[in-house]
Assembly symmetry: C2
Homo-oligomer: 100 residues x 2
């Protein structure tokens, strides 16, 4: 049994990485089928394009029966230390979808 | 001499493509130096990550002296016919920066 805290909307996040594209689309769709009110897709660097594709395909192809729309999109930068010990910046995007 | 119509904010757009990254950053910065109130960065498909990077680098590294912030970010899909005559979708992003 899940507690109320475990089902807070802000905890429904999908982090985009190197797995097959449809894994992430399915992840978003399943969370909405499981009654999530909001799902946030998060991506960094080169995965940002994939993150936008995931949001669009999930919304347009798989959630047509639900009334899912884009609640918010934010972009920003994160600093991290690379292998050579140099501080570098990477861009990030967060796309929050909401089931109205 | 430019007419009022030619200097409407919505006409200050930068389309992201295959040119070197700094070309686009410079393009954004020059438009703000030339007194543009708003500049919109537009990118499709695999160029979306690059578009977000351009917005972040222009804003954080080159427009620190100005008060440039993100006014709006939108994502969507466009349908087009590929070389094989098949209709395919591509994701798009538009990031509007504003000089406050």
């Amino acid at each position: 049994m899940t507690t109320e805290e475990e089902t807070k909307p802000e905890e429904h996040s999908i982090f985009i990485g190197g797995k097959p594209f449809m894994n992430y689309v399915t992840g978003v769709v399943i969370q909405f089928k499981n009654k999530a009110k909001e799902v946030t897709i998060k991506a960094r660097g080169k995965f940002i394009s994939k993150g936008v594709d995931v949001a669009e395909v999930a919304r347009r192809k798989f959630l047509e029966d639900k009334n899912v729309s884009i609640k918010n999109i934010s972009i920003g930068s994160e600093e991290f230390e690379n292998k050579e010990g140099k501080m570098v910046n990477v861009s990030i995007i967060e796309i929050t979808l909401i089931n109205n």
